[in-house]
């Protein structure tokens, strides 16, 4: 059986509820109706807040804190197909919560590694995010990432840009982490205009590029190593690679 859900967290929890009470045996979980003709039966999950809350409460009560956080974090890895494994993981947890730490289980190991991949990627972005100063002194960064990490980055910069205003804008997902005097948190961005940069911006970009070029030692050049460490994927908005 193929299950189709709407890709929201509530939708997924409803799916868990239906699988559990209707004893469904899914072979695949999709978030769009398949275009090709399939012989398998297709069932669409209709998101239901009541069902979702019930499952959420059950997970919160019976799962150890770390594993609950893992479930939330996995949902940020939106470019991966994690649904089947996450479903198995949750079922496993309801059977015996100790098994959630047994990395000999395929889904436990896979999801733990996926979470690590997310954290690794977030960590790289904490270094590779580049802010530009706008006219009013707000710092503005565009990001383009494989996972949904604006929240993690926002929280990271809250510590270090504590007395500044800043915006971290995820272009593809159309969301932004905004921190100013009266708001801290994620907002949806439907449309936006290129903002005006401050006067000093060009000067510091040029200075940074100058620094970046002259700090490299020519006799040790190793572009391959460089690309392993800063993959092209991350370079879209990095000042020194533009």
């Amino acid at each position: 059986m193929i299950l189709v859900y709407d890709r929201t967290f509530e939708g997924f929890l409803t799916l868990v509820y239906d699988v559990y009470y209707e004893k469904l045996k899914p072979s695949e979980i999709l978030y769009t109706q398949p275009k090709t003709l399939l012989l398998d039966e297709i069932k669409e999950i209709i998101t239901n807040e009541q069902k979702a809350n019930k499952v959420l409460k059950a997970i919160k009560n019976s799962f150890p804190k770390k594993t609950f956080e893992l479930i939330l974090n996995i949902f940020m890895c939106d470019s991966k197909e994690f649904e089947m494994d996450l479903l198995k993981y949750i079922i496993l947890g309801f059977k015996d919560k100790n098994e959630l730490f047994n990395i000999n289980n395929f889904e436990v190991f896979y999801l733990q590694n996926l979470q690590k991949e997310l954290f690794r990627s977030v960590h790289k972005m904490t270094g590779f995010t580049r802010f530009e100063e706008l006219e009013d002194g707000t710092l503005y960064a565009k990001i383009e990432t494989k996972f949904n990490m604006a929240y993690f980055l926002g929280r990271h910069f809250l510590k270090r840009l504590n007395n500044q205003k800043y915006i971290i804008h995820d272009i593809d997902r159309k969301i932004a982490f905004i921190k100013n005097d009266d708001f801290i948190g994620i907002q949806n961005i439907a449309s936006f205009e290129e903002p005006t940069l401050s006067q000093d911006e060009e000067k510091f970009k040029k200075l940074w590029n100058t620094f970046f070029k002259s700090i490299a030692i020519e006799t040790r050049e190793n572009k391959k190593c460089q690309q392993n460490l800063v993959p092209l994927l991350y370079r879209t908005f990095m000042t020194e690679f533009l």
């Binding site: 990395i103 000999n104 904490t126 270094g127 504590n162 620094f211 970046f212 070029k213 700090i215 460089q226």
Partner: protein
């Protein structure tokens, strides 16, 4: 003649580039509400240069004027290069603006000796005071101490910086005398010792300190170098020793003539050995001995140690303790953690290890799972070494096109 700010940056970053240390790790997470900047325990790399090194800090010299004449240094007095200096205010402004744009994790400040040691240290102090007091900057600052500066000045620097260092550069007094006539080992170590004593007196968490050694400019063996490092780790409270493959920047009769390539592999092996000292509980005399004073370039130091000590192997994955597991070549700290976690639930075999993504490339020769071994290599030093350096290739027989008899005219068989 005034130079513009870009040219200054170009010259002073260029002069600082041979300093390898650029890490910002190992400091406490320390953010404060209402301040700019915080340090991050793991350190953060903000970009990587074309030579593949991490850029974490704004690494510049305050000035490249210098009264010293060290043979290996690009900034020595007798070199005819462009000289310039940042004013403390200029440098502080650049640091803050770079930091706000998330280009850097903090400042790495070093300097040539202008006028006198004390004068230079005073200039450095000015930069620190502007950053810490005026801009309320709370990020990472690494200062290179000036050997021979007044102890009270050093004390002030230590209280404002996150990490201080002083480069020993050469592993023995003899080499120092030859290449850096104005320095002695005593003089170079003096600021580090002093900084250590201050932090011991205060009974607070000691300030992080590091140093750098040049590899390949003088005839010291790896044993001398590693012995020095391990003494430094034990006694002087150093957090890191950096190794830098010697790259000729000056011609000097005392320096090795024309090296074709910097000894990068040797540098790499030294770092591997250094990791064994710091994280794997090895002592230096386990890694190098009088018999083999230099590290084996063919295999990494851990493999090399295992080959010398085959009596501890093969090790049974399901029974060995954590400390023992850490000694298996090719299995690192993360691998050991995975094994420990997984074997609580079941007894592991080779398939399980593969599923846990533990590399068996080198480990397979040194371990058994449930008493079984995977490798078919004879359990002798030479055989294993050979197998690791050149793993047996699978034989593929490629049929050739031309050994069949066919007609030259029609192409028929």
């Amino acid at each position: 003649m005034r130079k513009d700010i870009y040219e200054k940056m170009q010259i002073l970053a260029d002069s600082a580039k041979y300093d390898v240390s650029c890490s910002s790790s190992g400091s406490e997470n320390n953010h404060k509400t209402g301040e700019l900047g915080a340090t991050h325990n793991s350190g953060i790399c903000h970009t990587f240069t074309a030579d593949g090194r991490c850029v974490s800090l704004l690494k510049v010299l305050l000035t490249n004027f210098c009264i010293y004449d060290c043979a290996y240094c690009i900034n020595r007095k007798s070199n005819d290069i462009k000289r310039t200096a940042f004013s403390p205010r200029e440098l502080a402004d650049i640091t803050i603006n770079f930091y706000k744009r998330n280009y850097i994790e903090g400042l790495f400040l070093s300097s040539g000796i202008i006028d006198s040691e004390d004068h230079t240290t005073n200039l450095i102090l000015r930069v620190l005071k502007i950053l810490r007091h005026e801009y309320r900057f709370n990020g990472y600052i690494h200062v290179k101490l000036i050997p021979g500066a007044d102890e009270r000045l050093i004390e002030q620097v230590v209280s404002l910086a996150n990490r201080v260092s002083s480069n020993i550069e050469l592993p023995s007094d003899k080499s120092l005398k030859l290449l850096a006539p104005n320095k002695t080992k005593e003089k170079v170590l003096q600021p580090l010792k002093h900084a250590r004593d201050i932090s011991l007196e205060k009974d607070t968490k000691p300030i992080g300190m590091s140093t750098q050694l040049i590899v390949g400019a003088t005839p010291e063996s790896d044993k001398d170098i590693l012995k020095l490092s391990s003494v430094l780790y034990d006694k002087a409270l150093l957090k890191r020793v950096y190794y830098s493959a010697y790259i000729p920047v000056n011609d000097d009769k005392n320096l090795p003539a024309l090296v074709n390539k910097p000894p990068l592999l040797r540098e790499h092996r030294l770092y591997q050995a250094d990791w064994l000292l710091r994280f794997y509980d090895f002592s230096y005399d386990e890694i190098v001995s009088d018999e083999f004073p230099n590290l084996d370039e063919d295999v990494d130091p851990k493999t090399s140690w295992a080959l010398q000590n085959l009596q501890y192997f093969p090790m049974e994955i399901n029974k060995a303790s954590k400390d023992e597991l850490l000694r298996i070549p090719g299995v690192g700290a993360r691998g050991v953690m995975k094994i420990l976690k997984a074997r609580r639930f079941k007894s592991l075999d080779f398939d399980d290890l593969k599923k846990l993504k533990i590399s068996l490339k080198r480990a397979q020769y040194f371990i058994t799972c449930k008493g079984k071994s995977k490798s078919k290599t004879a359990f002798y030093r030479e055989d294993i070494k050979q197998a690791i350096i050149a793993p047996p290739k699978k034989k593929i027989i490629q049929p050739t096109l031309f050994d069949i008899n066919y007609s030259h005219i029609t192409g028929e068989l």
